[in-house]
């Protein structure tokens, strides 16, 4: 009897103060008809630039099979996809390529396209763009892609600025190379080489374990492409179905022996072993409004809850996630302990160490499948790839809430929050 009266009292207080038990986390886990949900998330293998399976594959060679893969995973009329937004950094004609690739992948002419770029966050920017269009009801269904062929598109760095610009030290910093910013982070925040190698080795080890247990197969769409054999110049068909940058058996001791890559910039802690690899790859995410998914009976993988961006001094651009993630969590009123998985892009081990320790994150929750140090960072691909990886990891671990974040060249950080519903 006492038991039931307590429960009746709880029921009444819930009716009077719905907020009291309805905390921020519960609200984020709720399913609302106007949620933006993710229904397909997949990526290509990530392969080494100028060596790997995609070295002779141009941007369209990544886009067409990936978009086809997305189309084949949906059972509703392709015409219902209203827009494809592609994030790409390096290709100067990416908008033309995207329009043609969408048609080549079997999308009708009525499916619109657009491209977005904000360097390393382009893939997430594309996801955000589609999500916002759905939330604002300009479209119901869209596909976000991040794609980068670093083998076939040169990274020319900053353009030449007029002297009046270059006199401004912050603008001058914008034109500097990324490894320089990594050394700045190491120096300013005293991130030791040893620590960097430790985090880098952990990335390789986690990726190795994931690859060996076959868990990456949940993320990767195998693609057959043309590859020129450097020995005899012959073109042959190869299947890109695994990440080729993961060096098995990597230890922090082995990484400790690698020579600094940039001895000109003290403390010269950045090496080929503790920085992200130059890689080709693409990732795609299909989003729609939950009410539409229910109507079309499309299974939902998760929902896209929120995203945000923030700028900072270009000279220490790497620490972007350490301010973007708190900004995001404040917006959604969550604590870092509420987050099950953090995908933080490993541009450099220096910034990874700083961000994880500054935010006080449990390292076990950060990049549980490894990161860009182990399998590469195709610039625009990464933001979309992290969503794919986070959803796959949340599914396999049976957890719910994921945050993805990356630092952005010229000094920015972006972050997003997703909820797995698998």
């Amino acid at each position: 009897m006492a038991h039931s009266s307590t429960q009746r009292l709880e029921m009444l207080s819930r009716q009077l103060n719905p907020q009291s038990t309805n905390d921020a986390k519960a609200r984020i886990l709720e399913k609302r008809p106007d949620d933006v949900v993710i229904c397909v998330a997949l990526r290509t293998a990530l392969t080494k630039a100028r060596k790997g399976a995609f070295k002779d594959t141009k941007l369209e060679g990544l886009l067409v099979p990936l978009l086809k893969g997305v189309r084949e995973r949906t059972h509703f009329d392709t015409e219902l996809v209203e827009e494809i937004v592609v994030g790409n950094v390096l290709h100067k004609d990416s908008t033309f390529i995207t329009r043609a690739s969408a048609i080549a992948a079997g999308f009708p002419a009525t499916t619109a396209i657009s491209t977005v770029s904000r360097w390393c966050s382009s893939g997430l920017l594309a996801v955000e763009a589609v999500a916002h269009k759905i939330a604002a009801r300009s479209i119901d269904i869209g596909i976000a892609v991040g794609a980068e062929s670093m083998s076939t598109n040169r990274d020319g760095g900053a353009p030449e600025f007029p002297d009046s610009f270059m006199e401004n030290p912050t603008i001058k910093d914008v034109t500097e190379l990324m490894p320089w910013t990594s050394e700045n982070v190491a120096r300013d925040f005293n991130v030791l080489r040893q620590k960097q190698d430790e985090y880098a080795a952990a990335s390789f080890q986690k990726a190795e374990k994931t690859q060996k247990t076959g868990l990456f197969q949940d993320e990767i769409l195998p693609i057959t492409t043309k590859w020129k054999d450097p020995k005899n110049g012959e073109m042959k068909d190869v299947v890109a179905d695994r990440d080729d940058g993961i060096r098995y058996g990597t230890t922090k001791e082995a990484l400790g022996k690698i020579r600094p890559a940039f001895p000109q910039w003290p403390p010269a802690t950045t090496t080929g072993g503790n920085a992200s690899q130059i890689t080709d790859g693409a990732a795609a995410v299909l989003l729609m409004r939950r009410s539409v998914a229910e109507q079309l009976k499309v299974p939902v993988l998760g929902k896209f809850v929120a995203s945000t961006v923030i700028g900072l001094e270009p000279r220490i651009m790497g620490i972007g996630p350490s301010i973007a993630i708190p900004k995001l969590l404040k917006k959604v009123k969550l604590e870092k302990e509420d987050i099950d998985v953090f995908e933080i892009n490993e541009a450099f081990a220096s910034m990874l160490v700083y961000c994880v320790e500054k935010l006080g994150l449990d390292p076990a929750t950060v990049n549980p499948r490894g990161g860009a140090i182990a399998f590469g960072h195709p610039l625009a691909c990464t933001g979309a790839r992290q969503i794919v990886t986070a959803l796959a990891e949340l599914k396999s671990s049976g957890k719910k809430i994921g945050v993805t974040s990356m630092c952005v060249g010229t000094g920015m950080g972006m972050a997003s929050l997703i909820v797995s519903e698998q």
Binding site: S5, R8, L9, L12, Q15, L16, P33
Partner: protein
Amino acid sequence: MLEFRTQGYNGYSVKYSPFFDSRIAVAASANFGLVGNGRVYILGLTPNGIVVEKWFDTQDSLFDTTWSESHENQLLAASGDGSVKLFDITLSQFPIQSWQEHAREVFSVHWNLVGKDTFLSSSWDGTIKIWNPNANASLTTLPTHSCTYSAEFSPHSPSILSSVSSDSHLRVFDLRTPASASNHLTMNIPIHTPPKPRMGAAAPVGVPPSEALTHDWNKYRDTIIATAGVDRLIRTFDIRAPAAGPIAVLSGHEYAVRRITWSPHLSDILLSASYDMTCRVWTDGSAMGVGSVRQENMVQDDPMVYGGGKEMGSMGRHTEFVTGVDWCLFGAEGWCASTGWDERVLVWDCRAIMQ
């Protein structure tokens, strides 16, 4: 305004007899329905005020009552111990029947207005049960998997019924459909679906789910149902367009809305009772002329008010939560009765408070 004190008992539900314009039933509970006895009052409206004709005491709290549609002296009570009790006011003390099937508190009982040979009950145990007063066991059990605060037969069809529950959904069941997999469920409408965006107002996004406590079928328009609950909003839905979201959203109550009921006389008027200690009269804007000027301009005064619906008046004489309200079916339109936790039953004419 007439007044009666349910001394020691906090009101939970009030219902006018469908047979006599001067008879009211009130379900009330000691200790705010948290623990203790329940009591059904049969009240008579006389020239000398409200008098008790009879009462029945029960072991556990009572949360709802409804009059039989087939027998003028019988009425049902929904009990906290999971039982549904049938009383006959010509007999003394004990119920003539008590059905003990629900596993948790019964929150609503409702008699089939068309068929008249069945009634229903809904419960915290996540089920609705259909009963025949002459049978010892329930005829059908309809699962909602969610604490079901309110269930009702359609006043237009003997085999259609509806419910609202703590999962923020309005369900419609049709007993003519095969039971099979869906258990007669024909419609499951998320009450928190955002209303259709209108020109001149931003599209509302992120309307959170919220416990629904009450609902009622419109007596004239057979596809219109109003719902209300913890989020303080009253919404109307047209079950011909279940995916379209609410057609009217009426805001004004400052706490959860505990009970709503459509007028038996006017197709656009409904009455609500709330934890904010008021009863309010509303139009959903469907009557001709109301809101038409604003519609032409396509600009709303209040972005949460759709379709020209608005509050017409408020009755603030209760001094505690108002939990029950009902219209008198007879005589001049506008007479109604309300009850609440202030141990009072008020009988009043809502035309007096309408602006």
